[in-house]
């Protein structure tokens, strides 16, 4: 190793050698020695950038929500005493409501927590049944053209039917409200699962099936190693759509069947003319729906391979 080491200083010295630089250069050279300002260093810039990203991502939603609350305030104030409750009044009511979410004063007077859980249970049960039936059915429809041809007219006929139209059938067949509301969730959330699963199966890339053919894989191996993983992203889409439908439908179904649940609670509070609680219910339905959607999105991300 030679004794010459190139550090930044010596490099600058060479670059600033008098014969290569105009006469004015030496005056500038000392100024370069001062330390670089923090926000011009790599770390400083990264910090600035992350702040920038944070504001770009965070500010618009905050402004949006603020404007929404402002609009709400204006609407409620313009109505006078008989107008909608304002944000502040609703907030106070919500605080009182959530202070004791799990009280139980008999069948028609339960805490908000119980009502949410009842609705979630019904969605879970009805939707779970729909998945149990819909996923295998979707796989079979996707795999066998004959079955697909058989089911196509039935599905196209029944799918556009409004979910609540199924409620009387459920009530008539089951004679009870609880299975009837599960039935409504089941029948309205099964279509997206069937259709997306079937579409996923018919869209398994030919390349993967060729691999299966060259390897002569057994039907079971084809299903577990190729079909199922390949269909999973489509299946997750179906489940997300179904869950969305189920959550939409449950509130309406519970309004009609009564007893417990968010839908029942909304209707009950309407009968009590407690408008704050109706507004709160709307927020709860929105927030729970959002949380369901987001958690399913997280799961779906896990199965996105590319």
């Amino acid at each position: 190793m030679s004794a010459v080491t190139f550090n930044e200083g010596s490099l600058k010295d060479i670059m600033n050698k008098p014969e290569t630089v105009p006469a004015s250069a030496p005056a500038e050279a000392p100024a370069k020695l001062r330390p670089t300002p923090y926000f011009e260093t790599e770390r400083g810039r990264a910090l600035l950038e992350s702040f920038g990203n944070f504001f770009r991502a965070g500010v618009p939603p905050v402004i949006g929500i603020a404007l929404f609350i402002l609009l709400w305030q204006i609407v409620s104030a313009s109505g006078g005493d008989s107008g909608l409750p304002g944000p502040a009044k609703t907030w106070e009511a919500a605080k009182a409501l959530f202070a004791d979410p799990f009280y139980d004063n008999g069948p028609n007077d339960k805490g908000i927590g119980w009502n949410i859980l009842h609705s979630l249970y019904r969605v879970g049960a009805g939707f779970g049944l729909a998945a149990l039936v819909g996923i295998p059915l979707g796989f079979m429809i996707g795999r066998f053209a004959f079955l697909s041809g058989m089911m196509a007219p039935i599905i196209s006929l029944l799918r556009p039917v409004s979910p609540l139209a199924w409620l009387p059938i459920g009530l008539y067949v089951f004679k009870e409200t609880e299975p009837a509301s599960l039935w409504v969730i089941f029948i309205s959330s099964i279509w997206p699962i069937i259709l997306n699963t079937a579409a996923g199966v018919s869209r398994v890339p030919q390349d993967y099936l060729n691999v299966a053919r060259v390897l002569n894989l057994s039907e079971w191996k084809i299903f577990t190693r190729i079909l199922f993983p390949s269909v999973l992203p489509h299946l997750m889409t179906g489940i997300r759509l179904s869950m969305g439908v189920a959550w939409l439908v449950i509130v309406a179904a519970e309004m009609l069947t009564g007893g417990t649940g968010l839908g029942f609670w909304v209707w009950d509070e309407w009968n009590n003319l407690n408008v704050e609680h109706i507004l709160i219910a709307i927020f709860i339905v929105g927030i729970v729906g959002l949380m369901l959607e987001q958690s399913l999105m997280l799961i779906a991300k896990r199965f996105n391979y590319e």
Partner: protein, 263 residues
């Protein structure tokens, strides 16, 4: 070194919406064990169709295909295919992709430890031991293609079928993989059938080049013996007069005798 793969009067007619389309006709070819054959021709000449016939992915309309005196009646792991677009299963790791094949071929006879050993060995052969537990989405195109080759080799096939294996890669990666394939074939003595449209690749790698006429009703036009000594070195070949002579013959076939009319 007897006749290993035997194709006799093979003909392939596809039913299309516009009626029957004859892709291949009068294909006669005999491949010796351990031979490396390149199939070359303009796009649409049916060279991939011929490969698929040998793979068993399509059945010929007419004619006979024999592999070590048994008729090819469907796809099977003794004829491993390296697909043009690698066709790895994205939800399995590189190891998992190769293991799936190994398990299928040797799973009935061998213990799990031995199967894992085979998988590992195949990935080491293509120089991918370090990326074994990565998913296909996390590695480059060249590496994916190498996993595809490892998967095919791990099955210890009677015939290795390569369908434009390096077509989607950049020139530098392609050259590296060609060298690697040459080394592997030298080591394993695999009987190989490779579809390509790259003249240099064909001359560099193969023992014989099968040149196909243009479709429809394509057939084998000429067969060229590549009598260059092995091991071959692409840099030394660049100055080899005989190499250029062979290359010239393929080019002449493709661009003078069977120039494809501009589509």
């Amino acid at each position: 070194m007897h006749n290993y793969l035997h194709i006799e009067n093979a003909k392939m007619v596809f039913d299309t919406k516009k009626g029957k389309f004859t892709a291949l006709t009068d294909i006669n070819l005999t491949v010796k064990q351990g031979e490396f054959i390149a199939l070359i021709g303009h796009s649409g000449c049916g060279k991939s169709t011929l490969l698929n016939l040998v793979a068993g992915l399509t059945t010929p309309t007419d004619g006979i295909l024999l592999l070590s005196e048994r008729e090819i009646s469907g796809p099977g792991p003794e004829r491993a295919v390296v697909f043009q677009n690698h066709s790895l299963l994205p939800w399995l790791t590189c190891f998992g992709n190769v293991y799936l094949a190994v398990e299928r071929v040797f799973g009935a006879r061998e213990a799990k430890a031995k199967l894992k050993e085979r998988t590992q060995a195949a990935l080491e052969l293509v120089g991918l031991a370090h990326a074994m537990h990565k998913h296909p989405g996390e590695i480059s195109g060249g590496m994916k293609q190498r996993v595809g080759i490892a998967r095919a080799l791990a099955m210890e096939p009677k015939v290795l079928l390569l369908d434009e294996p390096f077509g989607a890669l950049d020139a530098l990666t392609r050259a590296g993989l060609q060298d690697e394939l040459m080394r592997i074939v030298q080591e394993t003595h695999a009987t190989t059938l490779m579809v390509t449209h790259d003249v240099d690749e064909a001359v560099l790698l193969s023992d014989r080049i099968v040149m196909m006429t243009n479709g429809p009703a394509a057939t084998i036009g000429e067969v060229l013996d590549v009598d260059l000594p092995r091991p071959r070195d692409r840099l030394k070949l660049a100055e080899n007069a005989h190499y250029h002579h062979l290359r010239g013959q393929v080019l002449e076939f493709l661009y003078q005798k069977h120039m494809k009319k501009a589509a």
